[in-house]
């Protein structure tokens, strides 16, 4: 991995993606509010998208799809992330309506 200050290298983009992923992971693990956990997951997905687009930009091998395979992946990740956000927020609202809480440590109906 090479990090240079005079031009953008793949190491720069990977470092940014890794830092963002770790911040999002922290938010997803260490939060009480379910919506805050969802925000952490969104940050993680954005970090992955940045990494994908970075691989597409620094691709030298030219597979069959040209340079754009990483960007196509990013489009599908965005699609799935939007669907996931909608379903997860609907679940959070349904749980809030039934149990009057969005605290992740109180939502333990499946714990045995």
């Amino acid at each position: 991995m090479e990090i240079a200050l005079d031009r953008i290298t793949s190491g720069d983009v990977l470092l940014l993606g890794a830092v963002l992923f770790c911040i999002g992971l922290y938010g997803a693990i260490a939060k009480h509010n379910a919506i805050a956990v969802l925000m952490g997951i969104e940050i993680m997905l954005n970090a992955i998208n940045i990494t994908m687009v970075g691989f597409s930009f620094f691709n030298q091998v030219k597979p069959y799809a040209g340079y754009l395979t990483g960007q196509i992946f990013a489009i599908f990740i965005i699609t799935v992330a939007a669907a996931e956000a909608a379903v997860a927020l609907a679940m959070i609202i349904a749980i809030y309506r039934k149990r009057d809480t969005v605290d992740m440590s109180n939502i333990d109906m499946l714990k045995f």
Binding site: A4, L16, G27, K31, L89, I92
Partner: protein, 174 residues
């Protein structure tokens, strides 16, 4: 240092600080507003990496739709009388350790990958001249040639349909 690199590092700095604000602020509405900054700055990174279509989609879907969804969910799940609406649980120390380990393993893998070192430093990811990024992605997504993504695209539309129906079914009052 040329201008694009300077802008990249500025955007990266704002991005990381805004992400830290998302996980660190005490009021969850402020966290949601910092999340808008994260999404917008990620769009800037995409523009710098010659991914104009992804940048537009990022602004439209993330900074527009997902933020509105999150703010509406916050509005519908308000708990009165609590000052710190975004507290951390007692696992936050373990979470810091886990995140540091994950980040260290990612950076180790990125440093020691032979493939990555071979294709490392040159940012020559431009399309051939005269080809638009949006046009190229559209041809990859729609044209029924051998190596296009028509089938995954249709499956993605099915996923979205199921997600819409599922969200309505889960979220309705009964």
């Amino acid at each position: 240092m040329d201008l694009a690199t300077l802008i990249f590092w500025l955007i990266a700095l704002v991005l990381v600080v805004a992400a830290l604000m998302v996980v660190g602020l005490r009021n969850i509405v402020h966290s949601a507003l910092a999340l808008v900054v994260v999404f917008a700055m990620a769009a800037g990174i995409y523009v710098l990496l010659n991914a104009e279509f992804i940048a537009i989609v990022q602004i439209l879907i993330y900074a527009g739709a997902v933020t509105i969804l999150i703010l509406f969910a916050l509005m519908l799940t308000r708990i009165g009388g609590v000052q710190r609406t975004n507290p951390t649980n007692r696992l936050w120390g373990a979470a810091v350790v886990i995140c540091a380990l994950v980040g260290a393993s990612i950076l180790y893998a990125a440093t020691n990958s032979h493939v990555l070192i071979a294709s490392g430093s040159n940012g020559a990811g431009q399309l051939p001249s005269g080809v638009n990024n949006v046009v190229a992605i559209g041809q990859l997504l729609y044209s029924p040639s051998t190596y296009s993504y028509v089938l995954p695209f249709e499956v993605a539309s099915l996923v979205l349909l199921v997600a819409i129906v599922g969200a309505v079914v889960i979220g309705r009052e009964d």
